[in-house]
């Protein structure tokens, strides 16, 4: 059964005709309505890439309460007085240029059957597919004595960049020299594994320069530094001896706000002039209302090929709210990678095609250990048909802290903000 030339030409003609029809109809790269809850790293990226990859075919509505995007990465430099809030803030106007409709409101409920999102102020939105990227919320019961009100006024977390970043900077500035700043770190998993250690380093950097008699106390519920441990410890020993003290296994049992005192499971009570408690974390609140946090009532299970929820069809969950696979950090960078896997899947699914096999994704995370020096951790993650794992021998950390990577860290920030929002 061989094809002669004439058969082939006829067949090719038929294919061209079919192909062009398909090009008009099937290949429009998606249509329909997507609602995105949350305009952080994940929500902004997925909104932009859905518009871009569907050639404007998919309508995207982004729901975000904050007027502008404020980055958690680099916010520790604001606390240390090295950067300003303006440096870590990006407008949502860039997304509008991609045709993303932005509603500044809070999503308070989801009806996965009727496919609607309820908003606090502006009624309901219908969707064909929903993307939920709300970041983290706090488990207040993890810190007896701490309330949301206290945490928003006196004993700050500053684990969501914004007004709390400004407020914690003010507390540090008004603290007299000779005072104690204590940072309490929750048990992993929490958002940004190296974030607390970077914060401690940068505040020690500030104290060393401006308030040399002051002290940074790091009180970690984990047994030891959870990320880039040897690099942070070397920096602390070399740069902040006498300024920064680290204590592991410090799970909080009680906080007395009036006296600014914390009690622990093991170890002595600590009284601090500035008390910065980061409570244990769970998936963003809306995931509870939407019935998406189906892993221990704390995190959201997803099909990693599409980031579609394992609880509800047509809803995709991104970023910190997902139950992380082994070795996958809850980070801004990782969330943008989730967003791209989800965008690729959604564009295909909304044009009647199967979701593609996910690409290799990556995480790169820079931490400042001083105003001039940085350490990084970077890993690629390969989809194995079920989840993303780091291939053996791939990834790693900086061999030592260095100034070159401080330049790269700031270049990373500018590029990832532009990729998500411009």
């Amino acid at each position: 059964m061989t094809l002669n030339r004439r058969d082939f030409i006829k067949a090719a003609g038929a294919t061209v005709a079919f192909g062009s029809l398909y090009g008009c109809a099937g290949d429009t790269k998606g249509s329909g309505n997507v609602v995105v809850i949350g305009g952080g790293y994940g929500g902004a990226t997925v909104a932009k890439y859905l518009r871009m990859w569907s050639d404007g075919g998919i309508n995207v509505t982004l729901v975000e309460p904050n007027p502008a995007f404020v980055s958690c990465p680099i916010s520790n430099l604001v606390l240390a007085g090295e950067k300003t809030m303006a440096d870590i803030t990006t407008s949502y106007d860039g997304l509008k240029k991609h045709g993303v409709r932005i509603i500044h409101d809070t999503a308070i409920g989801v009806d996965p059957v009727k496919r609607t999102v309820m908003l606090a102020k502006s009624g309901a939105l219908s969707y064909d597919r929903l993307v939920v990227s709300p970041g983290i919320d706090f488990i207040w019961e993890s810190v007896p004595g701490l309330t949301p009100a206290l945490s928003d006024s006196k004993i700050l977390h500053a684990w969501k960049a914004g007004p709390q970043t400004v407020a914690l900077r003010k507390q540090l500035e008004s603290m007299p020299d000779g005072g104690v700043y204590a940072l309490c770190i929750p048990k992993a998993p929490y958002r940004c594994p190296p974030g607390p250690y970077e914060r401690a380093s940068m505040i020690a950097n500030y104290f060393k320069a401006k308030k040399p008699k002051s002290k940074v106390l790091v009180l970690d519920a984990n047994a030891d530094v959870t990320s880039k441990g040897p690099l942070f410890k070397k920096a602390w020993a070399d740069l902040y001896k006498g300024t920064l003290e680290y204590r592991g296994n410090h799970g909080i049992t009680k906080v007395d706000a009036a006296s600014q005192t914390v009690e622990f499971e093991f170890g002595d009570k600590v009284k601090a002039d500035v008390l910065n408690i980061v409570p244990a974390q769970k998936a963003g609140l809306i995931t509870t209302a939407a019935g998406l946090s189906n892993v221990g009532g704390r995190w959201c299970g997803v099909d990693w090929k599409t980031l579609e929820s394992t609880a509800h069809k047509n809803i995709h969950v991104l970023g910190d709210s997902t139950v992380s696979t082994p070795g996958m950090p809850k980070s801004g960078h990782m969330t943008t990678q989730h967003a791209k896997v989800a965008a690729a899947a959604i564009v295909n699914l909304m044009s009647g095609q199967p979701a593609p096999d996910p690409m290799v994704i990556a995480n790169t995370c820079y931490s400042f250990v001083s105003a001039k020096e940085v350490v990084h951790v970077a890993h690629p993650y390969v989809f194995n048909g079920k989840e993303f794992l780091v291939p053996k021998g791939a990834g790693g950390v900086s061999p030592s802290r260095n100034e070159l990577e401080a330049k790269y860290a700031l270049a990373w920030a500018k590029n990832i903000w532009a990729d998500a929002l411009l």
Binding site: A11, K48, P356, T364, A378, A411
Partner: protein, 99 residues
């Protein structure tokens, strides 16, 4: 018989066409992971190498040299180990075509 032949040819061509389209989408997706540091579609806004328009052979050589350790780097020698030759080629193709 003749129609069966034509049907086969159509399906073969259709498959080849779909595979080609699919491949370009997969290349686009694969390349997008790089954009977090190197800018959307490789248009870096500064401080990292722009990848848009980089000749295909140059990118393949660079990434393979990162992977083997022949070319020193800070993160790329660690990240490139996650990619196969074919995936590096897909990414290089995509960025070479970006204006």
């Amino acid at each position: 018989m003749k129609y069966r032949k034509i049907a086969l040819a159509v399906s073969l061509l259709g498959f080849a066409g779909a595979a080609f389209a699919d491949n370009s989408t997969l290349s686009r997706n694969m390349a997008s992971a790089c954009a977090s540091c190197h800018g959307t579609n490789g248009h870096s806004v500064g401080g990292t190498d722009p990848l848009a328009g980089m000749p295909k052979d140059e990118m393949i050589r660079k990434v393979k040299d990162f992977r083997s350790g022949a070319k020193p780097a800070t993160v790329m020698q660690q990240l490139s180990k996650g990619y196969t030759d074919q995936q590096i080629e897909m990414i290089a193709n995509y960025y070479a075509a970006q204006k």
